[in-house]
């Protein structure tokens, strides 16, 4: 192809990456403003505006037909738009929630918001990637930004320790991930996902290379989505990071990584043998996350283990290996993003220890519900939704991932999932119990802080939490439309065929 033709073709593809360009450009503008007007209060609002514009564009693309752009490197159309919408809305909520929090910490640097924007660009690329190079670049853009955000409060020894652990284990997993890509490339001769499925694995050594590569690739992914037994970093990192940013890394990055994993499984991998591996990891992740969450006294650590458990629920949908399973997982990621961002957002506004909530116990918040009624009600909604209690979105989400597993003949997997949801009710309900049914006078630890130690709740942050809580109700009651949308993304004829 002539170079001029290539440029013409790429110019025609530009609409496929509009949201990436808007977010990246806005990030650069924010950094420019930061250079001349240090920590200007308008910087987060510029970011929020850029994310809102990009989200509006993606909303208009939801019904677009599926396709690829830039020589098969990114996907366009409904699937990409849906994933991007989850990521962009999570980033928007994060910026609104972190503004009062970072002001309170005296860390409202413009660069922090710019880094959130760059991490978002990485996630947008990761969730819409159609070849291994895009997946790698997206994943690393996201991860490197998140390492920095984790260690934001660099004078606090807990924060830098979190950052170091996140960085070392993240870089370690990148090695496995990249080696997996290299071996799969060697076996199939291509980086493009749909072409990988079409490649014939003639010799035994090529097959060995492909499955070995896929194994290493999955190890890298399991690290990123914190599935057991690759979850060790998660509680430590979540406990020491700035709370609203923890919400960001537990939802948006997980949604983008799972979206990329779905694309790989759907387009590049014959579903048979991979399905059993995913099912086993799903079981240990659900059991491990929920059981370890039972003993936690710090809410951020508890939510970290809960986030591990929820990765297990999404993996149940993936191990079904059917179109319904993938679309259910996609719906679950949306619901999970809303409820987890909300839960971390509430905790951010109830933080009094000045160490990103690292040393404050759940008991110290006894009776906070009656002192902060809006936050208390919102937290109760998020907790009930995380359990999977009707009429909230979490209930439909769990149904959407467990039902395909039963249809695919994995009833045992769904039974483990439901049992573990019952176990999780214990620790989620304990949060509601402490917030509402205990009074501060009964609990010794509760009298150690005064109301003035809590961050000032701005209307933007509280409004975001209220919108999250209402969205869960809407997703629970009117889930049909969203589920139809996600189901339409998966065309049975495009699936990677069994060998």
């Amino acid at each position: 192809m002539e170079l001029a033709d290539a440029y013409a073709a790429m110019a025609g593809d530009l609409p496929a990456v509009v949201s990436m360009m808007v977010v990246a450009f806005m990030g650069l503008v924010m950094l420019g403003v930061e250079a001349f007007r240090n920590d200007h209060p308008s910087i987060p609002w510029m970011g929020a505006a850029g994310l809102a514009v990009a989200a509006g564009w993606e909303l208009s693309q939801l019904g677009a037909p599926q396709g690829t752009a830039f020589f098969d490197t990114v996907r366009t159309g409904g699937y990409a738009a849906f994933v991007n919408l989850i990521v962009l809305l999570s980033a928007l909520a994060t910026i609104l929630l972190s503004t009062p929090y970072l002001n309170d910490l005296k860390r409202a640097y413009g660069e922090v918001y710019a880094l959130i924007m760059y991490a978002t660009v990485g996630m947008l690329l990761l969730g819409t990637a159609n070849d291994m190079i895009s997946i790698f670049v997206g994943l690393e853009t996201m991860s490197v930004c998140l390492y920095i955000l984790t260690g934001l409060v660099r004078e606090d020894e807990g924060a830098v320790e979190s950052a170091l652990k996140y960085f070392l284990l993240g870089a370690f997993s990148t090695g496995f991930f990249l080696y997996g890509i290299a071996l799969m490339y060697g076996a199939t001769g291509t980086m493009v996902l749909p072409e990988m499925a079409e490649a014939t694995l003639g010799t035994t050594s090529a097959q060995l290379m492909f499955w070995g590569g896929l194994g290493l690739f999955l190890v890298g992914f399991f690290f990123k989505v914190s599935a057991v037994p690759f979850h060790m970093w998660t509680p430590d990192v979540y406990q020491g990071s700035p709370t609203p940013l923890t919400g960001f890394m537990s939802t948006a990055s997980k949604a983008a990584a799972f979206a990329a994993l779905i694309l790989v499984l759907y387009h590049a991998v014959p579903s048979g043998p991979a399905s059993l591996v995913l099912a086993v990891v799903a079981v240990v992740t659900m059991v491990g996350g929920n059981v370890m969450a039972l003993a936690q006294s710090n809410v951020k650590r508890l939510l970290a283990y809960s986030s591990i458990a929820h990765a297990g629920y999404v993996l149940v949908g993936l191990s079904a290996g059917t179109a319904a399973g993938y679309s259910g997982a996609l719906f679950y990621l949306l619901v999970y993003a809303v409820m987890n961002i909300g839960a971390f957002g509430v905790m951010a506004l109830l933080e009094w220890d000045g160490k990103q909530g690292r040393e404050q116990t759940l008991d110290s918040l006894a009776g906070i519900g009656s002192r902060r009624p809006v936050l208390g009600v919102a937290m109760a909604v998020f907790m009930f939704s995380l359990i999977g209690f009707p009429p909230f979105g979490g209930f439909i989400g769990k149904w959407a991932v467990f039902a395909p597993a039963i249809d695919a003949g994995m009833t045992w997997l769904a039974i483990v999932g439901v049992l573990m949801s019952a176990v999780s009710a214990y620790y989620y309900l304990r949060v509601v119990y402490v917030f509402w049914m205990q009074s501060a006078a009964d609990v010794e630890a509760a009298s150690t802080f005064s109301d003035s130690a809590l961050p000032r709740a701005t209307s933007g942050a509280v409004g975001t939490l209220v919108v999250c809580a209402l969205a869960l109700l809407v997703l629970g009651v009117f889930a049909g439309g969203v589920l139809e949308t996600t189901a339409a993304f998966f065309d049975v004829s495009a699936m990677a065929a069994a060998p």
Partner: protein
């Protein structure tokens, strides 16, 4: 003399294993960082060898991105290690153990 593809793949597998063992068993954070770099560069060798033998350029394209990512990671990683050293006056990862449970 033509070197067969298998030699390159074996060499990079050995280098990758050395890097992995370094991450798992060394205690100095800087050495762990170096081991990670060794892992990434072992993979780069695999990619270039495969790309060359198949006559397909996309493997070498990924190598360029991998080099850029490794550089960015090294910059961020060294900054984090310096921050740790300032607060703890050690870079021994077994002494960085604030979190429990």
């Amino acid at each position: 003399m033509e070197v067969a593809l298998n030699w390159y793949l074996s060499l990079s597998a050995v280098l990758f294993t050395i890097g992995t063992l370094g991450v798992l068993f060394r205690r100095n954070a800087i050495v762990v960082l170096m081991s990670v770099e060794l892992m990434l560069n072992a993979v780069n060798l695999t990619l270039v060898a495969l790309s060359q033998s198949m006559g397909d350029a996309s493997g070498q394209m990924l190598v360029f991105f991998a080099i850029a990512v490794a550089a960015a990671e090294a910059a961020v990683g060294l900054a984090i290690v310096i921050a740790i050293f300032r607060s703890k006056v050690t870079v021994d990862i077994t002494e960085i153990d604030l979190f429990k449970g």
